[in-house]
Amino acid sequence: MADELRFDGRVAIVTGAGNGLGRSHALLLAKRGAKVVVNDLGGSHTGGGKSSAAADAVVAEIVAGGGEAVANYDSVEDGASIVKSAIDAFGRVDIVVNNAGILRDVSFQKMTADDWDLVYRVHVLGAYRVTAAAWPYMREQKYGRVVFTSSAAGIYGNFGQANYSMAKLGVVGFASTLALEGKKNNVVVNTIAPIAGSRMTETVLPKDLLESLKPEFVSPLVAWLCHESNSDTGGLFEVGGGFIGKLRWERTQGTVFRLGRAFGPDQVKARWGEITDFGKSEHPASVTESMAPIMANVEAGPSKGGNEFIDVDLALGYQFPESTSRYDERDLALYALGVGASRNPLDTTDLHYTYELDEGFQALPTYAVVPVVNGILDAGRRGETAPGLNFGLDRILHGEQYTELLRPLPPKQKLTHRSRVKAIYDKGKGAVVVNETKTFDEEGELLAINEVTTFVRGAGGWGGDRGPSAEVNVPPDRAPDAVLEDKTSEAQALLYRLSGDWNPLHADPGFAGAFGYARPILHGLCSFGYAGRHVLKAFTGGDARRFKSIKVRFADTVFPGETLVTEMWKESETRVVFRCKVKERDKVVISNAAVELYTEVPQKKSKASAPASASAAPAAGAAPGKITSGLVFEAIGAYLTKNPDVAAKVGTVFQFKLTSPASQWTLDLKLNQVARGETAVPECTLELSDADFMAMTEGKANPMKLFTSGKLKISGNVMASQKLDFLTKIDRKAMEAAAAGVAAPAAPAPAASEAPAPAASARAPEVFKALADRLAANPALAAELGAVVQFNVTGPDGQWVVDGAKVTPGRNSAAAAFLTLSDEDLAALAAGTADAKALFQHGRLRVDGDVRVAHRLGVLKNS
């Protein structure tokens, strides 16, 4: 075999090679070209006697087979002599197979010190001596292959083999370190644990089995591990009877006792199941990996403490299972009614929160807390909580609430919530737990962040972190800049609870009575919603889309029917500090509160699928399946996202004011955003009817024609409106799909502009052929052109020369005029549907040389 693994030029030492495994290894290596030192003391397998016969026989067998070998009769304890034999005979040593061994099997009770020592000396000390003598040669030549021989008895234990087991596992550890030390000098060290019928196993295995476990089933692994092409090192392999497998260490994930917490035998016993559970395990392969969990615990530092209610170490940072929820316009409207919007149906200032067909329908942003609190309540009802939080709902009060929106809530959405225990504070008597929930939209983009701060009565006192204590959002010492009030309805709590907070405290007079309330109380988050709405009304003119965040502290109880007065102080363009009072009792019910605003309406980052959905409520009267201007703007957003170069090139903020039905859109090509309403100061405003807009985007109406006919009013930068030609490139298919309510194809051709033009077949050849025919038939016509004319036709390209009556493909650099035009325009000229002068003025017909030749392009006409 030309490509068999060869050992030519290599010198191998095999100890204990007179019989069994050693002999088999030696014969195989020699057969494959290695020069072999066949070492064997010639004694019995229990260490008695000494003879040269066994080694000589193997050498003779090798030489007879055409190989090279020398015999060595030294004890492995005299390893240096064995290695010297190799150097003397062959000048080097490349391979050491530590195979020699003896047995002194006896039950431990009867085992003598001699039994122990002898087994140690042959297996461990012998392997050491031989390897130590060969090591400097291997290091020097930067090449070496060492195999140690271990045994299942060492790995797993075996009756009567305490000494042997000790020795056999001893070489495993020995080899593991040699493998590390040998690595940089290309010395590869591995260990085998063979099972084979040999003199040594005769005593422990049944005879018939021994015969089928031939040494020849082990030697191929040894040879491979010794081959120069093997670089795997530090391995331990079980081998025999045709099986080869590799061993590694496995460790349970175990358990960790936080430093500073109680740690004694009782705790070990308590955690025994965890400590011994291989259901969760790992496979450390180095000391570093072995140390990892230990170091982690040390680095984690002392425990954060806790008590029977709260185990801070367990609870803090706990990630709750992900949950989902969905809402739609109805939920938003119901919520808005629940927090007092549109109390007077004739007052339309809040109608955009409560009427989904309103032009500017918006989600009241404080709604973002509702699905989160509903989730917490549902989990509580199911008894689910974070580990280490061992208290019931009866102990808790909603202390503070922070709600932040990354952008306006879409009119409907499926939400995914990821919650964690963000902070735990020891307030002495009570404790404070802050749960943070991040809410993501359907596309996985972060939409809202809520922090629910709960006060847990009687759960503090473990001496832990007290948390921030500074008073925040304290109103300045002056009259409020705005005050708005709303009388709540007697049934307000009953209305609000329909948004999901089912707690009977807000509905059942008996239940409320049990808590010491004369009647059901209003939800704190209901007052929160009132306050948020008041701030928006006072400082954004009710445009909820600029809402960024709200932070409140719930200071006192409100009863349905009371009047909520929100006092507001404008701290900056983006920040309003406020508090809420109950008018009738002049009590502060919400304190330390502030709303932050965005200066501009924030937009969704990944607008790929639904750029304008943040505010794209269905337009009034929009029939399903019909493409609406809203869908067109969504598609424009998608197109612009896919083609960022368009925005980069145009760089203008356009505003579209559409009429019948009315809607307003901002195409911000500075930020590459499309959104409903006026989200940026427009540089160019276009006012036109919805229908004309649709016609324009379909390419059925020319914007400048609309402009000159007065149907399109452009203010601002008129010229910028000329950069809107990309509007005709919007993918209609995606819009149609969106209109039909199905997802657009995953990879829609983004725009006609990118797709190659339909492979129109060239019309120029026909035009010129017809011209040639006509000129041939009518010399007077040929004279009319009066000059040599070169036509350069584009898309598909082609060149023709018309010279008198001759029409030929090709070029003529001496032509009087060079006309460049598209195949399509040429065909149109021939058909009489285009006018050469108009084409020229539009720049579609370019003429170099004598322009007047182009006056006579009537000759192209087919008639």
Partner: protein
């Protein structure tokens, strides 16, 4: 007709690229002081000032003139697009002509931004919307700078009508650079070959980059006065304004002709009025400063001013009748194309050049025997001012 109005002092600063100039007030006050020094008249004698500029907040004129003196005189800020400078001059001239004042100064300046002209006020009706509409009907609109589309479109219309070669437009740039090379005040003094001009990137067919004037910063000024004032100050034989007329758009601007949209008829009518006022015809003129914002406009304006017959511009150019040795020297300064075009300053820089020419102070670019000089300054939107200067 009122009194004869003399141009007794002129001055200008060397034009510079946007970003490389001094601020408007510095440039303008320098130009005003140069003009006053040229006239030999102290600022205290100036009774009114007309300050022209296009880009800038209100009362930049005062801010600039205050650096010359704080005498409390009326200062009028004038904004008339590219014809701003000569509009300011015309108001100063009218004030003297009508006997309101004896001496007035017109200062024009502009501190421009880089890049092509663009609308500044985008929240209101664009004053050029009707012009843009004409263009759209005639040739559509693309993304080239709008002025290049308008004047280039006029060039297309002319080419179609008369079969003019593209190179003929390029030759105007070639001539402009030849002239500018002799003018230390020009922004682009290096000459170009016709090949370089024609091979430059196309801005809008038929215009290549070198056929479009650059955005420029600069200032220029002129002091005008009555005969009596000149006599009192011992100014002998000054250059005077023999005729001056401004026209704005006629109905023909909004028809279907690009040439007329960009002001062909305004130019023609203004020139005719000036010829009638001055009693001089084109043939009496030796030197012309003509509004060559684009080569196409210079070409069609030869005909509007009657320097050659209609359709004869190519022949006129090929004969060299627009440069030294020909019938006229058009734009000895290098024109807007090479000297630069700071909108508000241009009209007064043209005036400065022509006054120097008539005084024989044209240096290396002096037009021989210059006795009558014609100025043409045009702004889209629109206004065209044509002025005939003379020196006895």
């Amino acid at each position: 007709m009122g009194r004869r109005v003399n141009v007794i002092g002129v001055g200008m600063v060397k034009f510079a690229k946007p970003g490389a100039s001094e601020e408007y007030n510095v440039m303008a006050s320098k130009a005003a002081r140069l003009a006053l020094a040229d006239a030999g008249v102290p600022y205290a004698e100036v009774e009114q000032a007309y300050a022209g500029y296009v880009y800038g907040d209100s009362t930049c004129g005062q801010r600039a003139i205050y650096e010359v003196g704080l005498t409390g005189i009326p200062v009028f800020n004038v904004n008339n697009n590219c014809s701003t400078g000569s509009s300011a001059l015309m108001l100063a001239k009218q004030a003297v002509e009508g006997g309101v004042v004896e001496c007035a100064i017109a200062v024009g300046f502009e501190q421009m931004e880089k890049g092509a002209l663009a609308a500044k006020w985008t929240d209101r009706t664009n004053p050029l919307d009707k012009h843009v509409g004409v263009m759209n009907d005639a040739q559509g609109v693309n993304q080239a700078p709008f002025a290049a589309q308008m004047f280039g479109g006029a060039g297309r219309e002319y080419r179609w009508r008369y079969g003019t070669k593209k190179e003929t437009f390029g030759k105007i740039s070639w001539k402009a650079r030849q002239h500018a090379n002799r003018n230390p005040y020009a922004l682009f003094g290096e000459t170009l070959t016709l090949e370089e001009i024609m091979n430059a990137p196309e801005v809008f067919d038929p215009l290549t980059r070198y056929q479009c004037c650059p955005p420029t910063c600069g200032a220029a000024a002129a002091v005008v006065c009555s005969e009596e004032f000149a006599r009192r100050h011992g100014i002998a034989n000054p250059v005077y304004i023999a005729g001056q007329a401004m026209t704005t758009d006629y109905g023909s601007s909004f028809g279907d002709s690009m040439m007329k949209m960009v002001g062909y008829d305004m130019s023609k009518a203004a020139a005719d009025k000036v010829y009638a006022q001055s009693g001089l015809g084109p043939k009496d003129v030796q030197v012309v400063e003509l509004h060559d914002c684009f080569t196409a406009n210079e070409l069609i304006t030869y005909e509007a001013l009657g320097l050659c017959g209609e359709g004869e511009a190519e022949k006129f150019i090929d004969a060299g009748d627009n440069t030294f040795g020909g019938k006229y020297v058009v734009n000895p300064s290098g024109g807007l194309l090479s000297k630069g075009h700071p909108l508000g300053a241009t009209g007064l820089a043209q005036c400065t050049e022509l006054v120097w020419q008539l005084r024989g102070m044209g240096d290396k670019r002096q037009v021989p025997n210059a006795r009558a000089a014609l100025q043409h300054n045009l702004g889209l939107g629109g206004a065209c001012v044509v002025t005939m200067y003379r020196r006895d």
